[in-house]
């Protein structure tokens, strides 16, 4: 009885002393089980194809002679935005090249391109799905939160166990982290399309698919492009972390620079990443500005 009062006082001031949830152990056990059970499956069936995709992209990029690469880059920048953007892209890439990081750039670029492609291919359909059904989004929203906020450091280790080091776990971590904005903003953009337009499309007997592609997606495009932009930015921001598990590229420069207190080296790597980001941003911005949905803001 006498003990109870201080206990209660203790509980009130620090209720969490009572007991500890042994989640740590559960997790360790679970991961061990997971790794034991699935390692060979992942390593045999998942990693190789993903790796093959990434490596072929990488092979394509690295085996293209830089001058040809720059020419192609110019054309891409020009067609998707303007010749100014094309020129900017060339200058940016040339600078990175003269910093001696051309190879690293190609590695990082292939990582980012692959990751962003995966994000789009998976994320846009999911975003569309979310915009259709409130329930889907309600369920997905916490999952997106998990994807974006679980520190990659948490799953790096299990990822290495399951997928080995190198590109594949780096790619997977990048996809996980970078996909949510695509999903969220696709969902938001489609939801914001004024009802009168979908209604008009419905009245003409459009199928849901037609409404989607002929009305909703075009009108939501500025928002979807903002999502894509965020996805690219986040993918680039994962480059260093991917390097920690052996994905190489520009991130490695940064990572080494940090560990060696070599601010210059870290900066050069960072500059490379930033220039790459700007180039990708400008190109996607160009695509976005051409989106017909931009007309909707006008004074109709």
């Amino acid at each position: 009885m006498n003990d109870l009062i201080p206990m209660l006082g203790g509980f009130l001031s620090d209720p969490f002393e009572l007991f500890n949830i042994p989640i740590e152990e559960w997790v360790t056990q679970f991961v061990n089980w997971l790794v034991d059970t699935f390692r060979s499956f992942f390593r045999t069936y998942v990693s190789p194809p993903v790796k093959a995709v990434m490596e072929s992209v990488q092979w394509l990029l690295t085996s293209t002679p830089p001058l040809i690469f720059l020419a192609v880059l110019f054309v891409i920048g020009w067609r998707s935005a303007s010749w100014k953007v094309g020129l900017f892209a060339i200058i940016a890439f040339t600078i990175i090249g003269f910093m001696g990081l051309w190879d690293g750039l190609m590695v990082t670029l292939s990582l980012v391109i692959t990751a962003v492609l995966f994000c789009l291919v998976i994320g846009i359909p999911i975003g569309i799905l979310c915009s259709r059904k409130d329930l889907t989004y309600t369920i997905l929203r916490p999952i997106l939160d998990i994807m974006q906020t679980t520190p990659p450091f948490v799953y790096l280790v299990p990822a290495v166990m399951l997928f080995s080091i190198g590109n594949v776990p780096g790619l997977i971590a990048t996809i996980i982290f970078a996909m949510p904005p695509t999903i969220r903003l696709t969902n938001l953009g489609i939801r914001q399309v004024p009802g009168q337009y979908t209604e008009a499309a419905t009245a003409f007997g459009s199928t849901p698919r037609q409404i989607l592609w002929k009305v909703q997606v075009p009108l939501a495009l500025p928002t979807i492009m903002a999502g894509l932009n965020q996805t690219i930015m986040l993918a680039l921001s994962m480059v260093v972390i991917a390097a920690i598990i052996g994905a190489g590229g520009l991130g490695l420069e940064v990572f080494q620079g940090l560990n060696r207190l070599d601010i210059g080296q870290a900066f050069v790597g960072g500059l490379g990443i930033v220039l790459l980001a700007m180039v990708l941003d400008r190109i996607t911005q160009g695509l976005g500005d051409k989106a017909p949905g931009n007309r909707a803001g006008g004074d109709e």
Partner: protein, 408 residues
């Protein structure tokens, strides 16, 4: 072709709570004040024949748009059936149609002009117009051709490549119109399609509408606030009040025999000269108004009470054979033959009279009166004289929108 039965739409969280209140005789306003539910449409039933233009009128907020949207299920009716009798789809209730059929029906049978236009802002004018055709899966060349044709029809041939936000309100409305007619669907739902148009283009559009309606035998449901328009193009007019249809009839019926005070007020401002027919305003050729004054050969002479100077010689079939004014015979002409002359005549004839048909509109009758000072004679389709129109009848018709017919 379309039959609506007891269509009802209640807006609000719990629509089922409302019908009992309606049964208790509560009004729309009371229900809204008490429960927050809005009665959009209340128990509307009507029938639209194939190839007919059915006009819906009524106060702002009386449920016209809601009703028309129930027909293609843009709004899900709370209760009621909408039977579509279609050669391809058979007798079907749209209200309970499955998604798939509904879509097919919308794309192949119905199209719609929206009150707020609802043009797609991201598509050019032309590609707005061809939207319905795209959905139908027509090929590109065909689409473009049809699209251009209908864009031409609404007078916007040169604007195909512009975007809707570069167009004036009325131009946008016409694009919406072209988009709807371009699908060549049999049923057109039109929600105030000409509201933003000036009188000239509006008349053109009405003419075009009637033309394509005739050519393709389309059924049209048409909401308008323009009485003259309603009278002009409507085969039938339904008047709505607070969600209910209070009267359905052809234009003249509505104008001449309004069922309620509300309808009467409603049509008060209509210009009757284009709608009201001769038979409506004519003084009926009956004993009460006429007296016989002698016979001659095969005819009996009649004169209107109080006006013995004008005598009508009618044969035993009831046909007008001769006419005299102050004892002199006057010639009798069909109205159509003397309209042109009337327009140019320096003075009105007293030696000639005019006759018209029962369904001749007042405007025409007036032309007859401009030609001749004598009363216009109204004949039925068999050629029998059924009444006469003198100035008082005309004035009464124009001002009061009704004639002696009521008195009988």
């Amino acid at each position: 072709m379309i039959r609506a039965e007891g269509v009802t739409k209640i807006f609000g969280p719990d629509p089922d709570s409302v019908p009992p209140l309606l049964k208790q005789g509560k009004t729309k306003d009371e229900i809204q004040a008490e429960t927050g539910h809005v009665v959009g449409v209340n128990n509307a039933s009507f029938q639209v024949g194939a190839g007919e233009v059915f006009v819906i009128m009524g106060l702002s907020g009386s449920g016209k748009s809601t009703l028309i949207r129930c027909i293609n299920r843009l709004i899900e009716p709370t209760y009621g059936k909408i039977i579509l009798d279609d050669p391809e789809f058979g007798d079907q209730d749209i209200a309970s149609m499955d998604e798939q059929t509904l879509r097919q029906m919308r794309s192949s049978r119905m199209s719609m002009v929206f009150q707020h236009f609802a043009l797609f802002p991201h598509r050019t004018v032309l590609s707005n117009v061809v939207y319905g055709l795209e959905v139908q899966g027509r090929d590109k060349a065909e689409r473009e051709e049809l699209g251009k044709k209908y864009l031409e029809m609404v007078g916007l041939g040169g604007w195909g490549d512009h975007y809707p936000n570069e167009l004036s309100g009325g131009m946008q409305q016409r694009v919406g119109l072209a988009r709807a007619v371009a699908t060549e669907a049999k049923i057109l739902l039109m929600d105030e399609p000409f509201s933003a148009l000036d009188p000239l283009i509006k008349v053109q559009m009405q003419d075009e509408l009637i033309k394509i309606q005739r050519e393709l035998d389309r059924t049209i449901l048409f909401i308008t606030h323009d009485l003259d328009e309603a009278m002009r193009i409507g085969d039938h007019i339904a008047i709505m009040e607070a969600g209910e249809i209070v009267q359905i009839g052809n234009p003249e019926e509505i104008l001449v025999n309004p069922k309620t005070e509300y309808v009467a007020n409603f049509v008060e401002h209509a210009d009757p000269t284009g709608v009201i027919t001769a038979s409506t305003v004519a003084l009926p050729f009956k004993d009460r108004h006429f007296e016989a004054s002698g016979e001659e050969q095969d005819v009996t002479y009649w004169h209107r009470k109080g006006y013995p100077e004008i005598r009508f010689g009618v044969d035993k079939d009831g046909k007008l054979k001769r006419m005299t004014f102050e004892g002199n015979n006057v010639s009798i002409h069909a109205l159509e033959t003397c309209i042109n002359e009337a327009d140019n005549a320096p003075a009105r004839h007293t030696d000639a009279a005019v006759y018209c048909q029962e369904d001749t509109i007042l405007k025409q009758v007036m032309r007859g009166r401009a030609y001749s000072e004598l009363p216009v004679v109204v004949n039925d389709s068999e050629g029998r004289m059924t009444g006469v129109i003198d100035e008082p009848e005309l004035i009464n018709g124009i001002l009061e929108k009704r004639g002696y017919a009521q008195d009988d």
